[in-house]
């Protein structure tokens, strides 16, 4: 009996060292919320969670690239806002100019939105890669710039008047019974996984974050890699912005304020190192899913929304503490 207990503990320890804190948190959350609410463990609700998590997962995947290279992007929230506002404005204008070609207007709007958001990333990239501004300052500054632009363009008022089809397809549509946003994130995640693990360029992000001098000496262009990082991160946030716009049916300057914290939290909970060079995409997807799961569970359990932010902050810190403990275990096992 005792032996079995010891063996279980050692298996759990091994799993913790290998996989990190996330699988444990997921199991705990599932059990806890299933006990607290009957509606939690239903197919419908879980699909709901998946759909709600799409936006955070997208942004977190971008954030992961920034963290891998040893930086981070605090402007993901305003990137979302800028793409939403610019995309909506462009779509409304295009729709008004040619009410007959709805899909052309939608495409133009989407392109404009993603393009505008990506420009924020280009600005970050230029600052970080070419002027050696710290990612913290650069993205913090751009967060302010972006938010200002989004407010200025809209006067703080939501943008209405997009074609209904936009919301119908990208917000509420589904294919083969699965909501369109989930398809979008699945395809993008698959592409990113191939890029990260199957091409040589994926390794470059890890190399730059692990030891940028070594990367430079090994013939890797640190500048190009950093540039790509922030552009990629912003374009993912911008795409998220358009998906959220479709869901809300309006262009809004105020969406995404919680994204910087939540996306970094999702990454850190998933074991991405804040010192750069360590982290895996599939875990980050799970990390985003976990946060959405907790939020959904807390809603069903009728936990007040103010308290929810407290829980989220505590979870984030807990994850970092657990990660430190894990690193010590890894070091002591030297394996």
């Amino acid at each position: 009996m005792e032996e079995a207990a010891i063996r279980t503990v050692s298996i759990i320890k091994k799993m913790f060292v290998r996989l990190g804190i996330l699988p444990f948190l997921l199991v705990i959350a599932l059990v806890l919320f299933a006990l607290m609410s009957d509606n939690f463990l239903t197919g419908r609700n879980l699909m709901n969670v998946l759909r709600q998590s799409v936006y955070l997962i997208m942004v977190s995947m971008g954030q992961m690239f920034a963290l891998l290279t040893g930086g981070f992007d605090l402007s993901v929230g305003t990137t979302l806002a800028v793409s939403s506002v610019v995309g909506a404005l462009a779509m409304v204008a295009a729709y008004a100019a040619m009410p007959d070609s709805i899909y052309l207007a939608m495409s133009l709007g989407i392109l404009a939105g993603i393009g505008a958001g990506t420009l924020i990333g280009v600005a970050n990239a230029v600052g970080v890669a070419f002027f050696n501004v710290s990612p913290f300052m650069m993205s913090l500054g751009m967060a302010s710039v972006g938010f200002g632009i989004a407010l200025y363009l809209t006067g703080g008022v939501p943008v209405y008047g997009m074609p209904v089809e936009f919301g119908n397809v990208f917000g509420f549509g589904s294919m083969l019974g699965i909501p369109v946003p989930i398809w979008v994130v699945a395809v993008i995640a698959a592409l990113l996984a191939v890029f990260l693990y199957k091409t040589p360029y994926g390794m470059y992000f890890y190399a730059v974050g692990s030891n940028s001098k070594a990367a430079h000496l090994s013939g890797i262009s640190v500048r190009k890699t950093l540039f790509l990082t922030y552009v990629l991160c912003a374009s993912l946030a911008a795409t998220t912005g358009m998906l959220l716009t479709a869901r809300l049916d309006t262009g809004e300057a105020n969406i995404g304020a919680s994204m910087p914290l939540e996306s970094i939290a999702a990454c850190v909970i998933a074991g991405v190192s804040l010192r750069g060079g360590i982290g895996r995409l599939e875990n980050v997807v799970l990390g985003g899913l976990f946060i959405a799961l907790v939020q959904n569970g807390m809603n069903l359990a009728r936990i007040e929304s103010y308290l929810q932010t407290v829980v989220l902050g505590v979870l984030l810190i807990l994850a970092v503490v657990a990660d430190q403990a894990r690193l010590r275990l890894v070091a002591s096992e030297k394996d």
Partner: protein, 504 residues
Amino acid sequence: MTSGHLIASRALTRDFPGVRALDCVDFDLKRGEVHVLFGENGAGKSTLISVLSGAITPTSGEILMEGRTINPASVHEARQYGISAVFQEFSLIPELTVQENVFLGEEMRRGMFLDKAGMKQESGKLLEQLGFNLDPERRAETLTRAEQQMVEIAKAFRSQVSVLILDEPTASLTDHEIRQLFSLIGTLKKRGVGIIYITHRMAEIYEIGDRVTVLRDGRKIETMEVSKADDETLIRLMTGREVGAVFPDIDLPPPGEEILSLDRITARSGAISGVSMNLKKGEIVGLAGLAGSGKSAAMQAAFGLLPVSSGKVTLKGEDMTGRPPVEMIRRGMIYLPADRKNEGLMMRRSAGENMRLVSLARAPRQNGWFLNAKTEKQSVAALADKLKLSPNRPARAVDHFSGGNQQKVMLARSIAQEFDLIVLNDPTVGVDVGTRASIYRFIADLAMAGTGIIIISSDLLEIIHLSSRAYVFSRGRIRAEVSGKELNEETMLTCFFEDDRECA
């Protein structure tokens, strides 16, 4: 048996999960002696001094000081007994000045406030006493590695020291600075300080050691008088087997066409000026000189790491002046830096990933885009086998390998794809003798196969035994080019120093 010892350990044992790093070690140090610890990387030397200096606690066994059991629980406590260690890893804060670093953690105070004037005076006195020519007001980040080493030693001396532990203190020092350190050690011995000295350089054992203890696999193999020791015995005790000469026989083909030439290269930073040198196919060329003499800067300029203000770099007949590393690598030149941890390796990534880093861009692809996980794994396994990585587990983080094996991982980069020219900067710093021999063999084989090799080294013996030709640097210029019979210690040393005496 215990009489007369200053510090001693009895059956000292230390376990780490899965490994016994120190196994029942009896060790003793007398007053005024230099006791050398000798052994391969991972033999337990570092663990032993860590325990003695209170950095880690033993699993069992005891530490005695003049017959009394002390078992220090912390570095601080050990220091109060007069035990101070200078570890290989430096612990200086780059932003602080020399004097602030020296007194860090034990600041002098006047009432509630820092006694800056007092500390300045004290640190000045301390440095002078130790014979270090250092300005206490300089910031640590502006110091060379050798000067940082001096500050570390000064730190050890800010309180009364009776046992001084030095972990490979000469690894980053030039010959001149080593002289200085040795004369300091001599002074300390006369004062009755006992010194535990770790080194991989056998010549140093005979030069300053009184007794030597050989460790292997955490166990003490033997303690002997240095006067009775010789290379062969020590290596046999250390490795547990007979090892041939450390330096291999090298039989190079006649030099072929020119691979690299520098024509009056001057760096914008002024680190080198008017440096002209060349290397032909199948040559091993050594670059010698003091730290900061420009021997490393010359190669960094050639590799595109240092901006060049004038002159011309030619690689395989092509003008490559000022081209970035990525282009130099594409055209067949690779530079392996000396500082593995800061410039060379991704410490927290796997050994395999580190090996393949340089050659990923040229790795075979499927459909022109994708890496093949299987062939990648095979090529990593082949590299690990070829270099005898130990333990042979390339998926393990490089952080967890010994210094010698980390160096092997770096070397693997130079054969992960075909290069015409490999530049090695201090390839055997902190590497044990066994591994060192295999690294030399590796270099020799590459050269005999026709690869051009440039070795930058602070270890003169390395240059003398391996290279067919050498350049001696001093103050950013080439002072001499030596080959054949001139390639010896005396000739080269006279060129090291700054005066403009004729040399070579």
